[in-house]
């Protein structure tokens, strides 16, 4: 019975998120039809610009479901970009080696932070705060200069496009097919894999149980520590992968990159229906959270005269809205 109830609140939050996204996008298509909002590419651009964020947010969703948090992901992204740029441009490494190192960095962050959180019992906020400072600091130590990536193979990946059979015609009447870069394909695969993992695999169900109530999960005989550790490792790995996708978009390593990305990821997860207290959330919801964030900024750019700081204001209003809904749901659950 209890399990069923929890799934309903997850489903309800997911429904609100998806409805909100559709409403916002349809409104955009109607209002800004002359600003290209109705073009398929405009929609795909939401994924193109946010592929890295999408993957990182999925990782965050997983740790947030256990009731944890990871605020080191922005710094990990900056570090990954810098290390990749440094390896390829200054150390002469191949693009393959750079990618492996990038994923390794993410994995290492996950393992260390996961160990400290689960086996040492330290607050995840503090552990990942340290991770955040460490990552940013290390990035600056490698180089404070901007390093542009000019590696041929890497640029080939970055500029590769999958053209779609559909598209739009421009002002001069020329047909331009819509496209997605490989980053979007990778990000979508990650979202789907995470969704399957959480919904249909034992590991996923354990995560929800731990997030819902750690004590009872322990009493049920679940290996709480091991599961949580795995969640952090997976989160770290996805941060590394997300950093790589981010780097494919920017093609540069720079210490100021991805500042505040962790906050974008957390807010996307929350808007996507993830409860900060744990036990509720889905990668699909998080994906819509990311899309909503992207839509808000596209709407405000299309409008043209509003300051882009309005993106933050609208986001904060949405966050409040979702937190209120969540607390209403939580108190309703308690009453029963």
């Amino acid at each position: 019975m209890k399990q069923k109830k929890k799934m309903t609140s997850t489903g309800f939050l997911l429904l609100i998120t998806i409805a909100l996204f559709i409403v916002m996008y349809v409104a955009g298509m109607v209002i800004f039809a002359d600003k290209g909002f109705a073009k398929p590419q405009m929609f795909l651009n939401l994924f193109v610009s946010n592929a890295g964020l999408l993957v990182i947010s999925c990782g965050l969703t997983i740790v947030m479901i256990t009731g944890g948090i990871d605020i080191s992901v922005g710094s990990v992204t900056a570090l990954v970009c810098m290390v990749m740029a440094d390896l390829m441009e200054n150390k002469g490494a191949s693009a393959y080696v750079a990618v492996l190192v990038a994923l390794g960095i993410g994995l290492l962050f996950g393992i260390v932070q996961g160990f400290l959180v689960t086996y040492m019992g330290i607050q995840p906020f503090i552990v990942t705060l340290a991770g955040m400072f460490f990552g940013r600091g290390l990035t600056a130590i490698i180089s404070t200069d901007m390093i542009a990536i000019k590696n041929e193979l890497f640029l080939k990946w970055a500029n590769f496009r999958f053209y779609m059979p559909f598209g739009s015609t421009n002002k001069k009447g020329k047909f331009i097919p819509a496209y997605i870069p490989p980053t979007v394909v990778i990000a979508l695969i990650v979202v789907i894999l995470c969704a399957i993992l959480l919904k249909y695999r034992k590991f996923g169900r354990k995560l929800y149980a731990i997030g819902g109530n750690k004590q009872s999960a322990l009493m049920m005989g679940l290996d709480v520590k091991k599961t949580m550790f795995k969640a952090y490792v997976l989160d770290g790995f996805l941060a590394g992968l997300g950093g790589f996708l981010f780097c494919l978009n920017s093609c540069a390593g720079f210490v100021e990159q991805a500042k505040g990305l962790e906050m974008d990821a957390i807010s996307s997860a929350v808007i996507g229906g993830t409860l900060l207290s744990g036990g509720v959330g889905t990668p699909i919801g998080t994906m819509f959270g990311v899309l909503i964030k992207g839509t808000i900024s596209s709407l405000i750019t299309a409008q043209g005269t509003l300051s882009s700081w309005w993106v933050r204001i609208v986001l904060s209003a949405l966050l409040c809205f979702f937190i209120v809904i969540q607390s209403v749901l939580a108190s309703a659950k308690k009453k029963k």
């Binding site: 429904l15 349809v26 409104a27 404070t144 500029n159 750019t301």
Partner: protein
């Protein structure tokens, strides 16, 4: 319950849609649409730059300007440019946050046939044809002007080069202005043998400039020249110096700390008039008219120069130095007059 909510939401969407479609105004056929992706609003200079663009590309002048503030994030600029491409703007103006990482998105603009005009900072791309032209300031020349002024000033006041103990509050590391201005100073140090104590970034902000200056004052007790790479940093540095019980001014021999700054914003020149900034080298933010001139050339189908430098002046608190000779980025040597600042000059300026 769920259905009710969905119905309510859909109704709201339709209402919004209707309101929007009746309210939207269709631009006239001959209007030129310009998308401008600006770095942010981190300094007075940047605000003046934005204002110049907004007043130039106004509706009265036959333009529609789509302005996007990137809040210092390159990823926001990449998104904005992709949006501009989908909106099919006629021209894209890009004031980049960083020099690198533009190949992909500029290629997309080129494929869409939209000319890109780079503003202020330069972009570092593998293929120069990815952007049409560049407008901006010559930061290396600015740095060299400041260094030459300091040398001329020290000579006029009979101060030995090794007695100039300089700290450099750098701009945001990696920005064109920081690279050029730091290099100008470093060349001066090399050439004249000044004592450069430390270089640290103040990120072009007042708060950070103050913080850096405070820590430097604690570290060194013999600082007599502060080289601030913009006015906002200079304001912070002046606050830090004064709260440490020292005075700013140009009388180095009597323990005053000399402040050199860049940008010549209104507030910066007011400080110069008060004698608290000894020399302020202009970094002209009024790029709007120059950008419009270039767009008109392009509209007429003419070729334009790849690099366009705007003219810039030097202002000083006193008349100890009349002019300096410096070499610009195109290796052209010229003599530049140093203007002693007056209230009339400040009042007569647009920013």
């Amino acid at each position: 319950m769920k259905k009710k909510i969905m119905a309510a939401v859909m109704t709201a969407a339709m209402v919004a849609g209707l309101a929007g479609s009746t309210a939207s105004v269709y631009a006239a056929e001959d209007t030129i649409t310009v998308g401008f992706s600006q770095v942010g609003a981190e300094s007075d200079w940047r605000t003046a730059n934005t204002e110049s663009m907004k007043t130039t590309f106004s509706e009265e002048n036959g333009y529609e300007l789509i302005f996007d503030d990137a809040q210092q994030k390159q990823e926001n600029q990449l998104t904005a440019i992709r949006n501009f491409i989908q909106q099919e703007v006629d021209y894209i103006l890009l004031a980049p946050v960083t020099e690198t990482g533009w190949d992909t998105v500029l290629q997309e603009a080129k494929d869409a046939g939209i000319p890109v005009i780079i503003v202020d900072r330069m972009v570092d791309v593998s293929d120069d044809s990815l952007y049409t032209t560049w407008i901006g300031t010559d930061s290396l020349l600015e740095g060299r002007k400041a260094a030459e002024w300091l040398n001329a000033y020290a000579t006029a006041k009979e101060i030995a080069p090794e007695d100039l103990h300089i700290v450099d509050i750098q701009g945001t590391i990696g920005s064109t202005a920081q690279i050029g201005r730091s290099q100008g100073l470093e060349e001066g140090v090399e050439k004249y043998g000044w004592d450069l104590l430390e270089q640290q970034s103040g990120e072009f902000t007042q708060a950070k400039g103050q913080e850096v200056m405070e820590s430097m004052l604690k570290k060194y007790d013999n600082i007599n020249v502060v080289y601030c790479e913009n006015d906002n940093e200079a304001f912070g540095a002046i606050d830090a110096i004064e709260s440490a019980g020292k005075t700013v001014g140009s009388d180095i021999a009597n323990g005053e700390i000399l402040v050199i700054s860049f940008d010549t914003t209104n507030a910066g020149l007011t400080e110069t008039l008060a004698g608290r900034i000894a020399c302020d080298v202009e970094c002209n933010p009024l790029h709007g008219p120059r950008a419009e001139a270039l767009i008109k050339e392009l509209e007429a189908g003419n070729e334009v120069e790849k690099l366009n430098y705007v003219d810039e002046e030097i202002f000083a608190a006193d008349d100890a130095v009349a002019s300096v000779t410096a070499v610009n980025s195109l290796d052209e040597e010229a003599e530049y007059a140093v203007t002693p600042i007056t209230q009339e000059i400040i009042d007569g300026r647009a920013y």
